[in-house]
């Protein structure tokens, strides 16, 4: 196999020294982590490497020598470097060499033991792969390869070679802690050797976050304890709580806040990203909510809204009355059964009259209610939108009632018709066997059954028309509510932090790597540059989506059409955890 030497780009122009890194025998690759400069004492080097091995569980060792000299290396230097191979035994022993100012490298590999099979000449090729140490250290491969805990040096052969490289660099952080200003026994060159990277703000935030999280976590536990108390489990508060989407959204946000301010540290990077995404989502929500609040309360817009609300409700009720008058006449030229038509029409008209009186009763209080509801926008735009959806549901309650009446009537009619149709043909539904069986009826049973069947059949168009009209109205209201819920869902589940990271620091989220062949000369080893291939935005969204409220359409289109045809009540946007109707 071709030997691959991964060399960090930060060490390309450092002085000569020893190569320190890890050898992965399964993929025949040598990952160089740092360069150790002359002069050094071999005992101290071995001690340092033993410490690093213990702290990081990575099998670091001296892999070979690095020579960066003005011109061709002299004989004595060559023999000195070879002699080092005896002090730090490693199999195979790498010797990299580069001329100062030159572009081409030379690389020699020495095997102590003779290879098992005689290899062809030119077999032991070396490939030099340059990598940016900082980017590889900070990046995270997707999908994450789960590497089990193991002793220093062992890697399961099934993992890819590149995952092993990323893993080695990520876990050797302890090696990169010293920089060139330290007065240590050895002098290393790596990506942090010009000065360890740190941020004052991050350190301060880390110190401050401890007590702040503790305080807020206790406050939130108090709030959740209050909300879980027995009063809220009694009917009707529990019924209201399950039906109103505002309560659901508030519960969801409380969960999020508990996650953010929990004092437990995130165990792996997925949990950390989740926390960060939740923080970003909450901040965006609150910011948009405050913008909405300032817009609403400026220039007495709430007053205008309250003044417009009652006339709009009146207008809707009037339009419904016109619709019912139209249905009671000859709608679309169809001939209805006069008596049934009048009964149903008058029944629904009385309902609308009750509704208008109720709205007029409420009208003096509307402005106050709206003002207080507008304040809730400071909790977040999602809460305000959920409230809007609930207000729409309350204002169109009469449409919902009409839909339920129409659907129940129609459903009853359809079931009656199907049962009497079976009687007409001489069959009946066997409840035990759950199938249609033949049955012999008496003459009077047949007579009454056929009469009823005829009556129901000829009354069907009237009921069906009322059912159709009110179902369409209900579907319109449901569609509007669904749109609002979709928007709320979007704000809840958008992973803003991950998207921002992908935009500003694309190397942090890696889908893979890409190679670029550098200038090549015959007889020299092949040189490649390894760069991080960032994750595409669609995969970022898919991997880091926050779990949403669960506002998905419950039924497929086919099931929905079937329910509509048979007059069963539909609740297309079912929340997670709701009981079946």
């Amino acid at each position: 196999m071709v030997l691959k030497a991964f060399f960090p780009t930060c060490c390309v122009s450092v002085d000569s020294g020893l190569l320190v890194g890890r050898w992965v025998p399964e993929h025949s690759s040598a990952v160089v982590l740092a360069v150790l400069h002359f002069p050094f004492i071999p005992i101290q080097v071995k001690q340092l490497l033993a410490q690093v091995r213990q702290a990081s569980q990575v099998g670091v060792a001296v892999l070979g020598t690095w020579c960066h000299c003005p011109q061709e290396p002299e004989e004595s230097l060559g023999r000195f470097l070879e002699g080092l191979g005896a002090v730090f035994p490693h199999e195979p022993w790498l010797q990299l060499c580069r001329e100062r100012g030159g572009t081409f490298w030379s690389c020699e590999v020495t095997h102590r033991q003779a290879p098992a099979a005689p290899s062809a000449p030119g077999e032991d090729q070396v490939m030099l792969i340059f990598y940016d140490q900082r980017q590889v250290l900070l990046s995270q491969l997707h999908p994450p390869t789960v590497l089990p805990d193991r002793q220093a040096g062992a890697t399961p052969a099934s993992t890819g070679g590149l995952a092993a490289v990323f893993d080695t660099v990520a876990r050797s952080e302890v090696l990169f802690r010293s920089d060139r200003f330290d007065e240590g026994p050895v002098r290393l060159s790596h990506w942090q050797s010009e000065g360890v990277e740190a941020s004052i703000l991050a350190e301060l935030a880390r110190r401050a976050s401890g007590p702040v999280c503790l305080l807020l976590a206790s406050l939130l536990s108090l709030v959740s304890a209050v909300s879980a108390c027995r009063v809220f489990r009694l009917w009707p508060l529990s019924f209201l709580g399950s039906k109103l989407s505002t309560c659901e959204q508030l519960r969801h946000r409380l969960e999020h806040l508990t996650l953010i301010f929990s004092t437990r540290k995130a165990e792996n990077s997925a949990q950390l990203m989740r926390k960060a995404n939740t923080v970003a989502s909450v901040l965006l929500d609150v910011a948009l909510g405050l913008m909405l609040l300032s817009w609403l309360h400026g220039r007495s817009r709430i007053g205008h809204l309250a003044d417009a609300l009652v006339p709009v409700a009146d207008h809707v009720a009037e339009e419904l009355q016109h619709l019912l008058q139209w249905l009671m006449g000859a709608p679309a030229g169809l001939k209805m059964n006069r008596a049934l038509d009048q009964v149903l029409g008058r029944f629904f008209l009385y309902h609308i009259h009750l509704w208008i009186s109720y709205i007029h009763l409420m009208s003096p209080f509307v402005e106050h209610i709206l003002w207080h509801v507008g304040l809730s926008a400071c909790l977040g735009l999602t809460v305000a939108l959920s409230l809007l959806s609930d207000i729409i549901a309350l204002l169109t309650f009469h449409i919902y009632c009409f839909y339920v009446y129409g659907a129940r009537l129609y459903c009853l009619k359809i079931h009656g018709l199907s049962s009497l149709w079976r009687l007409f043909r001489g069959k009946k539904w066997n409840v035990l066997r759950q199938r249609v069986d033949s049955c012999s009826y008496d003459l009077d049973q047949l007579f009454i059954g056929t009469l009823l069947f005829t009556i129901l059949l000829f009354l069907l168009p009237t009921t069906a028309l009322y059912y159709l009209v009110f179902t369409l109205l209900r579907l319109l209201v449901v569609a509007v509510q669904g749109l609002i819920h979709l928007l709320v869902d979007l704000i809840n589940s958008l992973p803003l932090y991950s998207l921002g990271l992908r935009l500003c620091r694309p190397y942090r989220l890696a889908a893979g790597v890409k190679f670029c062949v550098l200038q090549h000369e015959a007889g020299r080893p092949l040189r490649l540059l390894m760069q991080i291939n960032p994750l595409p935005y669609s995969r970022v969204m898919h991997t880091y989506r926050l779990p949403s409220c669960g506002c998905h359409p419950k039924d497929s289109w086919g099931a929905l059409c079937r329910k509509l045809f048979f007059g069963e009540l539909i609740y297309p946007w079912r929340q997670r955890g709701d009981k079946q109707d």
Partner: protein, 224 residues
């Protein structure tokens, strides 16, 4: 309907290749340019357009194949723009609203930019490195590059497959990936040169080179 094309079927493919009238202007000159053996030949794709295949042999274990697709033709661009603007002008005479004309200009510009950035692929490259992996790069007309790298440990084989594409039967080169759980099963088939769609003669050249490297890799690999 997809079938494997074993080595014996290459004879049939060769006969097919002779039967199809392919105009080949062979610019066969292996130029060693600074240590890299380069070669450029002209082929055609399944619709008859001209493709240029550039081969670079960096070393015995590293080869690159670069296929350049035909550029965006001025004729089709003019035709689409004229159609859109005539339709917009027709709507304008109906509605007397000048927003339609500005909207048409916007749509044309945005459509062209979107097409160049997301749809039109100028060049497709296949880089195969022994014992490291296979890399496929697509360069779009706007300069965007999209790269996929497959590690050698996941590659089972590279084969030429037949497929039914619209009303034609075409050949395409694809990489077979191993199943991580069961090494004898194939988990995925990754087609190469999907937008250039070269004909069989071009595919055979690439196939032979890749098989040389894969054979070398299998002979020297240490893992089972």
């Amino acid at each position: 309907m997809v079938t494997r094309l074993p080595e014996a079927g290459l004879e049939r493919a060769r006969r097919l290749g002779r039967a199809i009238a392919v105009e080949r202007r062979a610019v066969r000159c292996w130029r060693p340019s600074r240590g890299v053996m380069e070669d450029e030949r002209s082929f055609s794709d399944i619709c008859g357009g001209r493709l240029a295949l550039q081969r670079r042999y960096y070393s015995p274990s590293c080869r690159e194949f670069c296929l350049s697709c035909p550029r965006l033709s001025l004729r089709s661009l003019t035709a689409v723009t004229c159609t859109v603007w005539l339709a917009a002008y027709g709507l304008f005479t109906l509605c007397e609203n000048s927003m339609i004309l500005s909207a048409a200009i916007f749509i044309t510009l945005l459509g062209l930019l979107g097409y160049l950035h997301f749809v039109k692929i100028d060049q497709e490259t296949l880089l195969i490195i022994d014992s490291l992996g296979i890399q496929m790069t697509s360069s779009y007309a706007s300069g965007k590059e999209s790269t996929t790298f497959i590690e050698m440990g996941k590659v089972k084989d590279i084969v030429i497959n037949e497929a039914i594409y619209m009303q034609k039967v075409i050949y395409y080169l694809c990489i077979l990936l191993k199943d991580p759980v069961e090494p004898h099963r194939i988990s995925q088939v990754v087609p190469v040169f999907q937008s250039a769609k070269p004909r069989l003669d071009c595919l055979i050249e690439v196939y032979r080179s890749c098989q040389e490297i894969l054979a070398h890799q299998k002979a020297t690999s240490t893992s089972p």
